[in-house]
Amino acid sequence: MATRYFCSCREPHLHPKASTNWQGLIPDSVRDDLTFHKLEELHYCPTCHQLRCPLCTETEIAYKYCPHCLRQMPKKSTYCEKSCFRCPVENCGGYMNVSSESVRSEDDVKQFLGKRFLFTCHICHWTYTTKLITAPQSVASIVHSICVDGRTASSRFAHLKNYCRDKIRYEKQLGHYGKHKQLESPQKPRPPSIIPDEAMSDSSSFQNSSSLVPLTQPLCCRYKTRCKSCRNPLDVPSDKPFSGKCTQTACAIDCIPRIVPSRPSNVHAEGFWVYGRTVTVLINVLNSYRNPINVTISTISDLDSFNTNKVHFHLPCREFKVGCIDENSNMKHLSDYVRTIPTSLLTNFSYVSRVELTNRPLESLEALTPEETGDVFRSKNGVARPVDSGVSWCTVAAEVTVERGAGNSEDGVVYIPLFMAVESDDGQRISYWVKLELPKRGR
């Protein structure tokens, strides 16, 4: 069971002459499954007032960091420049402890010759000792130089790199030579051989543990997200890799109301619908925005094009208001948080939930446990009302009738597209499509 939210980025642009009366038409892409996403995958652009799927956003590297020491690294680096190394032994991958020992002259103990670095894997206890290092340099650069000197792949890469550099220089000189004929013609660099002679012997020795060297730790990236349309930043991460906080976020989950379907609590059916019967489905609208919202829900009369079965959906209450959580209220306590959960979703699992159920108005509990289908719809002066509402949520009832479609196809899920128009008290407006997925089994 899930509710998917629509992003219009796949909708083809209408040609001005294609249709004269295009307003009010249902977008073609609503029938495309790929246009619907989970709410946590979406962003809400406050400038464009639109939902943005991953295709409508672009990411750029905010900074790079080492996932082991959690230090920030320059963007040009690909490996940790500090002392983070991993064990090269197959199926180990443990982190290496690095220690150093000073080497002094045997004749004169006071004479300092250099340092040797000792790498020890704390899991498999594999060790590696560097040659004598006389000039001060970082451990990362020492290991890098060992890799370049000792490994075929690395040395081959170095040869290719030098060849490319020489070739670029040669082509530049060649252009220069064409203009000034009096200059000496440049010498064309020779490409390195395709299979170096030493490659075979070296690759066999590569498997030998004596030829292994500690592996450098690749860096991770933290990304900044932008809206492709207005180019404004949506997510800006904090500069601390160990913190989950962001300096700026525009997650859809923080402002778009969530739609959660449920069944009345006295219905002990396994799923949301049964063939040939009219069943009641509760649609819970949960407001995450900081202001109260007015919600208008519309649906399509032709639901057969979305389903293989024949589906009839009846929603009497289409306009209602949903409150909001007070910004000053502390939702950290479970007894406060439970107030934001609709009655139809509460269970007897915990003490707090049970107490909250008993505190909910009797009228709501009776409305959510109808004796017959149809009892659940409440109206006042002929206007349908929500069956239940709370601090930041509202529950409306709907009826779903499913009949077997052509060819007696057995599809376990019924899809109901809903068009949501949401207007907040501070004047923000957004409208979007959602697709309710009502499974035959599982609630």
Partner: protein, 184 residues
């Protein structure tokens, strides 16, 4: 109140089938559930000294390890948290789920809003930063570090999570504590 459960003054619920050792060195902030057949063991330095020959520790003073758990955590059925004398302390942040049959042994720290799946093994000196998801069956070797907003697969591959998981993970834990399920 169900008789199968013990409830502390700070609303922590501990199932009676759990084995909790060294409770003097365990501090839980509140609203935490420790489900059936869980094991929480913090070794007692004094007991360990007594086991050695005539209480002699070779002049070394052992430091008593402590387990600190934040608020609103859920230790699911069969999970195990062990803290030996080799580790000074283990800190588990708020809004964390330790999945069924997962084992945490001498971890350094687990941040807030961390969801550890079923049958996971977290070895000594591991650090898991805030807002992380460890998938079912993952085995984090010792000294492993998981940066914040990261999903770790069974093969220890990292996937970045969106910032909305800060809220999502917290809601997941709260819904599990209140309703016994993820409500949405």
């Amino acid at each position: 109140m169900n008789s199968e459960w013990l409830e502390t003054a700070s609303h922590n619920r501990i199932h009676k089938s759990c084995m909790v050792q060294g409770s003097s060195f365990i501090a839980i902030q509140g609203d935490t559930i420790i489900d059936r057949n869980c094991t929480v063991i913090v070794e007692d330095a004094e007991d360990e000294d007594a086991k050695t020959t005539n209480g002699e520790t070779g002049g070394r003073i052992r430091r008593q390890p402590e387990l600190k758990v934040g608020k609103q955590c859920f230790f699911k059925e069969g999970c195990s948290v062990n803290l030996s004398l080799n580790s000074p302390e283990m800190v588990i942040g708020s809004w964390c789920i330790i999945g069924n049959n997962s084992v945490l042994r001498d971890c350094a720290a687990i941040g807030s809003r961390v969801i550890i799946g079923k049958d996971c093994r977290i070895d000594a000196d591991c650090t898991i930063c805030d807002c992380c998801i460890i998938e079912d069956g993952a085995h984090l070797p010792s000294q492993f570090v998981v940066p914040s907003l990261t999903k770790v697969s069974k093969n220890l591959e990292f996937t970045s999570l969106d910032p909305c998981y800060r809220r999502l993970n917290e809601e997941t834990v709260k819904n599990e504590l209140l309703l016994g399920k993820m409500a949405w």
